[in-house]
Structures are given as structure tokens and as C-alpha cells.
Symmetry: C2
Subunit: 337 residues, 2 copies
């Protein structure tokens, strides 16, 4: 789906051609405008842009890696924006530079990316040490995940110390986020009932920490009880490979309470995993995973975008559902075409 042929059909107004060197120098200088331009290139579908983006990422690579990458998830209503605003401002008050990226391939369907409504994070948006980048609203999860991974590297090269990747805990995107961060934070509400319905199973066990949000007003008692319940449950969970026992804590983002505790947990996690070597081991694993994922995504794209395959697939799927033909046979048939 490249647009180059379309571009050729009319006169493009003369603009300054994109220069990789300028972007690279700008990013390394911490220039937000150049950083944004480079991320836009990453998101572009034009192969010319992708070529430049590739070069920029590779040249920024030696300058990347020095941040802590934090994934934050939770269902809508849990208070993610409020939490990130309070957390981000706390971090900059400690002298950190904070980048907030979002990954949410479903955002288009729901009419706007998670971070689209920036008014929800007004003080953060206006904080000079914070860079907020909404989720790209086009493309499948695979592509969005690839772009976000590269964006993390660029933000690091631009000098950001903390990279927050925000997602909603209702789809496949948390698994993608989990595969690109050092620390995975799950926000939960105090009630153990209905509000849990939305969270996908398996996510709780991926969390390095659970934060019970909205521990304020009439919610305080329930929130503290919830903390204890989750704490007990965490002990029943299998230990993770990095020997970290997930922690549970309370916070009230609107009252700025408990935010420091969350950061303390993350710093403790960082010390623990760096001391034991798990931190870098995990990053190496993730980098390899990224390569394989990009290759595998592309192999699938090439196969399923084939016209003949795309035409046959719906009817064959239907026959599988009706038990008329085995999935095994359909797969063999499509592969041999």
C-alpha cells in the first residue's frame, strides 16, 4: 500500500527534503521537534520514509538504553490518565525527563487514542520535561508495536530517563507492551467485582506491581483491604524468572498520595534486576524477540495479503466452523496454492 505512485501523479510543492543527519543530531541534542519528526517517519507507510527512519534508529542506537521503560495498563475508568499525570509530575520534580508513549491499536475504533484527549493531562502536557506522544491510530497491533519499540530508542537517545508506555488492559496490546518494557505496572480499582470484567486474563500474572488507584475519600478502607487481598494472592502466584515478587500498593493520584511509593518499588526492582543481571538479560531477550516478531509479522502480511488467499479465506473459515473440512486440510490447501 505504498503511495509513491499517487505522489508522482501531481506536482508536489517544494519542501526541504528530510535529512537523516539533521534528525539524528537534533534527537541527540534533545530537540523535541526533531524527535517528533523522526517518530512520524517511523509511522509513515512510505518506503522512502521508512528507509530514513531505519537509518535514524540505527544511528541513535548507541545513545539509547539508559532509561527505565515502564508499561502501565488498566481498564478504562481505573484512572490511568490521572495516575500518569501525577506520576509524571512527581518524576520531573525529581529531575527526571519523562516520555509518555501510548500503544492502543483499537483507538481508532473507539474514536481517538488514549492520549488524544490531552486535556485530561493538562499539567503534564505543559511540563517542559515531559514529552507526550499519542498512539498512532492506523495499523495493526504488530506495526504499532514495532513503531513504539523504535520510538522508545529515539526517546532514550533524546535524553529521556523514564519512558512510560501506556495501554488499556482489554486487548492483546498489553502482551506487546510487556515485551518492550523493563517494568510492568497494573492499575486496579478496589472493588473485586464488576470492574475486573474488562481486564484480560493472564495480565495480572504479568504485573511486576499492582497499584490500587483512587485510595481516597470513602474508598480508603476498601482500597486498603483490596491491597491486602491482592498481596495474599500474589504470594500464590508462581515466582517469575527474575526472582522478583510483585508488590501491591495504594495510591490516590488526585491527592498525590502514594505516588512516591510506586517509584520506590520501581527503583527497588531496577536495583534487584540489575544486581542479578536480569535487567540486561531481559533487554537482550526483548531485542531478539523484536527481530523475530518483525520478521514473522512480515511473513504473515505477505501471505495473507495475497489476493488469491484473501479471496478464499472467508469461505474456508466458514467450512471449518461448520466442521465440513479440517483446519489441517485448509492450511495445506492454502499453503500449496
Amino acid at each position: 500500500m505504498r503511495n509513491s505512485s499517487i505522489n508522482k501523479s501531481y506536482k508536489v510543492p517544494k519542501v526541504k527534503p528530510i535529512n537523516a543527519e539533521e534528525l539524528i543530531d537534533g534527537i541527540i541534542d534533545g530537540n523535541i521537534v526533531e524527535l517528533s519528526k523522526a517518530i512520524t517517519l517511523l509511522e509513515s507507510k512510505l518506503s522512502k520514509h521508512q528507509g530514513i527512519a531505519n537509518e535514524v534508529v540505527d544511528k541513535c542506537l548507541p545513545h539509547s538504553g539508559k532509561s527505565i521503560r515502564i508499561g502501565i495498563t488498566g481498564v478504562p475508568g481505573v484512572g490511568k490518565s490521572t495516575f500518569i499525570e501525577s506520576f509524571g509530575n512527581y518524576l520531573t520534580s525529581k529531575g527526571k525527563k519523562v516520555a509518555v508513549l501510548a500503544i492502543d491499536p483499537s483507538s481508532q475504533k473507539r474514536g481517538g487514542s488514549i492520549l488524544g484527549d490531552k486535556t485530561r493531562m493538562e499539567t503534564l502536557v505543559n511540563n517542559p520535561n515531559v514529552y507526550i506522544r499519542p498512539s498512532p491510530t492506523n495499523g495493526a497491533l504488530g506495526g504499532v508495536a514495532q513503531q513504539t519499540r523504535a520510538s522508545i530508542l529515539l526517546c532514550e537517545a533524546a535524553g529521556f530517563d523514564v519512558i512510560i508506555i501506556e495501554t488499556v488492559g482489554v486487548g492483546q496490546s498489553e502482551i506487546a507492551v510487556h515485551s518492550m518494557v523493563d517494568f510492568f505496572l497494573l492499575l486496579m480499582l478496589s472493588g473485586a467485582g464488576d470492574e475486573l470484567q474488562g481486564i484480560k486474563r493472564g495480565i495480572m500474572e504479568m504485573a511486576d506491581a499492582i497499584v490500587i488507584t483512587k485510595t481516597d475519600g470513602e474508598n480508603i478502607l476498601n482500597s486498603k483491604k483490596a491491597k491486602q487481598r491482592y498481596k495474599n494472592a500474589m504470594h500464590l502466584f508462581p515466582a517469575s524468572e527474575n526472582e522478583w515478587v510483585p508488590e501491591v500498593t495504594n495510591c490516590s493520584a488526585i491527592e498525590n498520595k502514594g505516588i512516591e511509593d510506586v517509584w520506590d518499588i520501581i527503583e527497588k526492582f531496577e536495583r534487584h534486576t540489575k544486581l542479578k543481571g536480569y535487567f540486561n538479560e531481559n533487554r537482550s531477550k526483548q531485542a531478539k524477540f523484536w527481530m523475530y516478531e518483525k520478521i514473522n509479522d512480515e511473513l504473515k502480511r505477505r501471505f495473507y495479503e495475497d489476493e488469491e488467499i484473501a479471496k478464499q479465506l472467508p469461505a474456508l473459515e466458514q467450512q471449518i466452523i461448520e466442521g465440513k473440512i479440517s483446519p489441517y486440510t485448509v492450511a495445506n490447501k492454502l499453503l500449496s496454492d
Copy 2:
């Protein structure tokens, strides 16, 4: 890696050629010998055999689907064999025909498949209403999973009412098993400590029921406490899409206690999911998933078995780990070769 060229180089003793019709008729008649032959064909790497296996699976398809498919997992030492023996004998005493398949791609490494040591399940092996098939010891998880899925269909066509898929809860294989069964059972020990280390994170949240094994002798009190702890934890878990709340129960397989309760839970689950339509919905999803998985596995196999790719990959992986080149660039390079 097909052996046909090797076979041509020497005189093969004349054997009766394999006849698909005979296999199909035999299987539908409930003939175990023919069933075993067909499963062996499924596991064969010869394309001739795979062709026949395909035909057999497709012809058996209309006769399949009438069983309940149960995945059973738990770390070594949890008492899986003892549980399956007791559970299997209980089921046959209720007039059921039971097939036990194993999926364990790592079995070769550990010197023998889970069910290889059949002496551990002596009474079950000799039970005329039970069919036990050890795990194929060759091949990657993908292939083993494909074969097991097809074997399930053949066992169903042969008239088995309950299909048990056994796996060890330490690798990727539980996810594969979870994608091919109706009900997923996790066996656990009473201690919440060290014995949990082996279970992979995320598996607990996949369980439809947890059974605390070895609830006998000095263990009784601890086991019952463990049951309560897990029960509490289960309520904190997000509800699954099928609105089923996972149950927790105790059992002692060597004393044949609590086995009936496990079956009651499974029957309750079956009624619940059939009433709500989730049972068939899940099977349709799984069938589609099987097709996509087979295609994707094959696409990857073709790519990574390419000589040029295989030769370059290790050095490129190393450069990724050392941060010398981005995974993104490596993927693009390999894909464009």
C-alpha cells in the same frame, strides 16, 4: 527433510500398502489398532504418510466432536500420573471410554515422554476402555501440537467420550494445550512455596479448575488451607469470557478421594458453557486458530530453514544483543535477501 530419496536407494521389503479406507472404517468401528496406525501416520515426516493422514482426518471429521476434551497440567512431582490413573478408572467405572494423549515436546531432552513410563499407570494401561498414547518425542512444539489436535479428532471418531491431554506445566506447551481443550485443569500441591517455582506465570489464570493433590495423611490440613487460599485468589482474577468462575478442590488420588468432585466440576462446566453457547463458540475459535497456526508455523519453517538465513542469523543475533545494530534493521535485511 524427507526420506523418500533414501528409501529409493535400497529394496524395501514388500508390505501391504497403507489403505486410507481401511483405517477410516477401523477407526469408526472403534478399532484401537487402526487408530494407533493412523496416529503414527500423523507423526510421520513422509509426505506420502501425511497425505493419507490428511484424508483419514477429513473423513473422520463428521464422526468427531462428541467428547469432552480436558487438558491436565502440573509440575513434575504434583502427582499427575497418579491423578490421571485414578481419574481415568473412575470415568470408565461410569461407562466412559477414555483416551489419554500427551503433549510434551521437551520429553526427548528429559529422556522419555511423560507417559513413557507406563508402569506408573499400570491399572489404567490394562483398562480395556482406556487408550493411552505417549507423546511423540520428535519435532518442535508446533508440529506436536498439530498432531495432537488431529489425534483428538481421530480418538473422538473412534468413540472415546473423554479425551485427556496431559502436559507438564513448565513450558510453552500448556498454552498449546489450552488452545485445543474444552476444560483446563491445573494440579497443585498444598505448599505455596518452592514447588510453585516451576509453574510458568500465566498458567494459573488459564485454569478452569485447580485441584490440590495429595490431600491425604499429614497433608490434609495444609491442603484444605491451600484450597481456601486459592479460592480467595480466584475471586480476584478477572472473569473469563465464558462467565465461568474457576473452582478449587482437594483430592487424594492414591486414596481415590475427591476424584468424583473433579468430574462434577467438569460436568457443571460443560452444562454451563453449552447452555450459554460458549462451548461450541470456543471450539470454532480453536479450529480457526489451528488453521492459522499451521499456516504460520509453515511460513516460519520455510523462512528460517533457508540456508542463507540460517547461516547469517547467529551473528546477527549477537550484534543485536551487543546493541550494534537494531533488531528492526536486521529484520529488514533478512527479509530483503
